[in-house]
């Protein structure tokens, strides 16, 4: 018997061609055999132009966030563009205090991209979304001519539900508040840099790419919502840039202790070698928490009790400063600014 008179996608050696983005049979087949199978959920299975979602619970509000992902290399130790596209948007929702529920995924594929690699990416995305407890409920695929894309670009949009009583926001930091981080800084940025620059280290530096919604729930389970003043995931620009965004939004300053900030020894060594600063390197699975001083111990204990926060640390406090300076007491005992990232973090020349 020949059930449907279609030849299945050649997921081993096939490649994306312009037909896959034309909206015809080839597009439908790609969606059904690759995306549909991997993400498998009732909304997607309906095959409609959009997903009809249930209303949030009474008292909850909706939070929406979007993120475009362009990473080179597409695969790196600790993740790939697929898992990153899920974590990025899930984390944007989580740091708003929301429980992430649904994602959309829009793929821009470059003509000639191997289907086997696309499958790896999509499978990884599906696994990441399942682990985070969010469903990919709608999507889109476009194909651009060879040379006009970088293999794969993925844009994800997420919707989450914000329970009442949670109001974290960058403007809410107050002098006296305590600054916590959930773990070591710079792992993702250095993992990518190591692959790009083909630097070999004794043991591999892995990206920390992870969904933070579980960690955020653990925090809100231990600390009253109104005492968690700011939540952030220090992605591009790293810890330094995130802290500066917060002082600018809240009209405060900060005093941070360098020696208290966790940095993986491998990352520190690599930074030393390349002349980079781990506080400017991206993280994809770390949380910055700013909370009322009376709750700092509880918050730290809650973070540390979660597998993603085992190395959480208290790194400093919010101070009054109309200039918004983030000051750092160096391990040596002097002071300096921990300023905004300026330009790209580049390895030094000599």
């Amino acid at each position: 018997m020949k059930p449907n008179y279609t030849r299945p996608l050649d997921l081993r050696s096939g490649r994306i061609d312009l037909n896959h983005g034309a909206g015809g049979r080839a597009t439908a087949q790609l969606v059904a055999e690759l995306f549909g199978r991997a993400f498998d959920n009732p909304w997607l299975a309906q095959g409609n132009d959009g997903a009809v979602l249930p209303a949030p619970a009474a008292g909850e509000r909706l939070v929406m966030s979007t993120d475009g992902h362009v990473v080179s290399p597409l695969f790196f130790p600790g993740g790939d563009i697929g898992s990153l596209a899920v974590h990025g948007t899930v984390n944007d929702l989580a740091v708003m205090g929301a429980r992430p529920l649904y994602l959309s995924a829009s793929f821009i594929l470059e003509e000639g991209f191997p289907l086997a690699e696309l499958k790896r990416i999509v499978d990884s995305m599906a696994a990441a979304s399942r682990a985070a407890g969010v469903a990919v409920v709608c999507g889109d695929t476009k194909v651009v001519e060879q040379g006009k894309g970088d293999g794969v670009f993925i844009a994800t949009t997420g919707i989450g539900a914000l329970p009442p009583g949670r109001t974290p926001g960058g403007a809410c930091a107050r002098p006296g508040d305590v600054v916590l981080v959930s773990g070591s800084m710079g792992d993702h940025g250095m993992a990518i840099m190591a692959v790009r620059e083909a630097i070999a280290f004794e043991s591999e530096i892995r990206s920390d790419s992870a969904a933070l919604n579980g960690l955020v729930e653990a925090l809100f389970g231990a600390v009253p919502g109104s005492d968690v003043h700011v939540l952030r995931d220090p992605t591009r620009g790293g810890l330094a840039t995130t802290l500066n965004e917060i002082t600018r939004q809240s009209g405060t300053g900060m005093m941070i202790e360098e020696a208290a900030i966790p940095v993986h020894p491998q990352v520190a060594a690599a930074c030393e070698l390349l002349g980079l600063d781990p506080f400017y390197l991206a993280n994809e699975g770390k949380l910055v928490v700013i909370c009322a001083p009376a709750r700092a111990d509880q918050a730290l204990a809650a973070l540390r009790a979660h597998p993603l926060g085992a190395n959480a640390a208290r790194i400093g406090q919010v101070i009054e400063d109309q200039h918004g300076f983030v000051q750092l007491r160096t391990a040596l005992g002097g002071m300096r600014m921990l300023d905004w990232l300026s330009g790209e973090p580049l390895p030094r020349i000599c």
Binding site: P175, E197, G253, M255, E258, A259, V263, P265, A268, A269, I319, E320, D321, Q322, H323, F325, Q327, R329, T330, A331, L332, G333, G334, M335, R336, M337, D339, S342, G343, L346, P347, R348, I349, C350
Partner: protein
């Protein structure tokens, strides 16, 4: 491990800090110049000045490769890319140095027809050579800058280009010499310039040239030099050694960085450099003016790989922006915040002068790490 080390660093730093405070004579002031941008960066990044008494002042020197590159030299590279079908390769910071007409190499890149010419960032001289080998149809020009540390790698790629008979590779040489710059700092006209009690001597540069080339500073100018590594503790140790020399009325060349610097330096590297380069009669530095025998040019045996010869390039001096204080900053006569443009017109995102470009530049270091000191902060 790292944390233990850093904790120890903090302990040692406190010890050194206490020793400097103890030994510095409260009845006088000490002004030392750290020649290298690497030291400037370390001092700013680790907040070393907080560990020094008020009467010990550190003055930033001109030892920052991109800072001393004059506008005319960048213009020359931009002109080359714009008018000839070449790909200019250089280090990241070099691409951002402001040139004439509001351009930099980076901004010029956006205007190029990429099918003919290009401007690329590289991490080493070898990257530029590799590009030329990989793409024989591409005419590659390596814009070489830097003090004695980066000179041997440039010499090596020139030798390799010669050995390979590469026709599509050349070097636009802007290598400069540390001792000449020190002379320029010391030889200022009467009544101008900065009063100095000694130098923190270069780290990486000295690994190549050794400590001997600084002898004249002590012999002729009676100023102590202490060669120091780039770690903040190295810098503090060298400051303590300088304070002692001053107190004891000595002016000697001392070496704090004995783990890497010898009296004679790296003779092999020096030999390669001498084989490939010779002294230029004059070279114009930003801030220091035209200095005799202060830079290197490619020997005529290697003329085929010398971009200046290959493309018939001439240097035209171009004045700095009229409000720019880079010159006085590079000579240590002013502090960054004293420049009218600092932090207003000139910022790391929109540098107007070269000292704001590299993280080793005095203005960039002060902007990124120290500008909070210029305003009083509460808390």
């Amino acid at each position: 491990m790292k944390y233990v080390d850093e904790f120890r660093d903090g302990e040692l730093a406190r010890g050194l800090s206490a020793a400097i405070r103890r030994e510095a004579d409260p009845a006088r002031d000490y002004a030392f110049m750290e020649f290298c941008g690497g030291h400037t960066h370390a001092i700013s990044r680790y907040g070393v000045i907080d560990l020094l008494p008020h009467n010990v002042r550190m003055i930033h020197g001109p030892g920052c490769p991109v800072c001393v590159l004059p506008v005319g030299r960048i213009d020359m590279a931009i002109r080359l890319a714009m008018t000839r079908a070449v790909t200019i390769c250089s280090y990241g910071d070099c691409l951002r140095v402001p040139a004439s007409d509001g351009l930099s190499l980076l901004k010029a890149r956006a205007r190029l027809d990429k099918s003919r010419a290009d401007i690329r960032m590289i991490y080493s001289a070898a990257d530029a050579l590799a590009l030329a080998q990989r793409e024989p149809q591409r005419e590659v020009v390596f814009l070489a800058i830097g003090f004695e540390t980066t000179t041997p790698p440039t010499a090596l790629v020139l030798k390799q280009a010669q050995a390979l008979g590469l026709n599509n590779f050349s070097v636009l040489c802007n290598h400069v010499l540390t001792p000449a710059a020190i002379v320029a700092i010391l030889e200022h006209p009467e009544g101008t310039g900065v009063k100095l009690d000694g130098f923190v001597g270069p780290a990486h540069v000295s690994t190549v040239i050794g400590s001997r080339p600084y002898d004249f500073v002590a012999a002729q100018y009676r100023k102590p030099v202490v060669i120091a590594g780039f770690e903040p503790l190295d810098v503090m140790q060298s400051i303590l050694m300088l304070v002692r020399q001053v107190n004891e009325g000595r002016s000697e060349i001392e070496n704090e960085f004995t783990r890497a610097v010898t009296r004679d330096g790296n003779l092999k590297a020096q030999a390669v450099v001498t084989e490939v380069f010779e002294l230029r009669d004059h070279y114009e530095w930003r801030g220091l003016g035209s200095l005799p025998k202060s830079a290197l040019k490619i020997r005529s045996e290697f003329a085929r790989w010398d971009a200046e010869a290959k493309f018939g390039l001439d240097y035209t001096a171009v004045a700095d922006h009229k409000s720019c204080d880079c010159g006085t900053i590079l000579r240590g006569e002013k502090r960054p915040a004293e420049c009218k443009l600092f932090g207003t017109v000139c910022t790391p995102e929109t540098p107007l002068g070269s000292c704001m470009v590299s993280s080793e530049g005095a203005c960039a270091a002060h902007y990124n790490y120290g500008r909070f000191r210029d305003v009083t902060t509460a808390g």
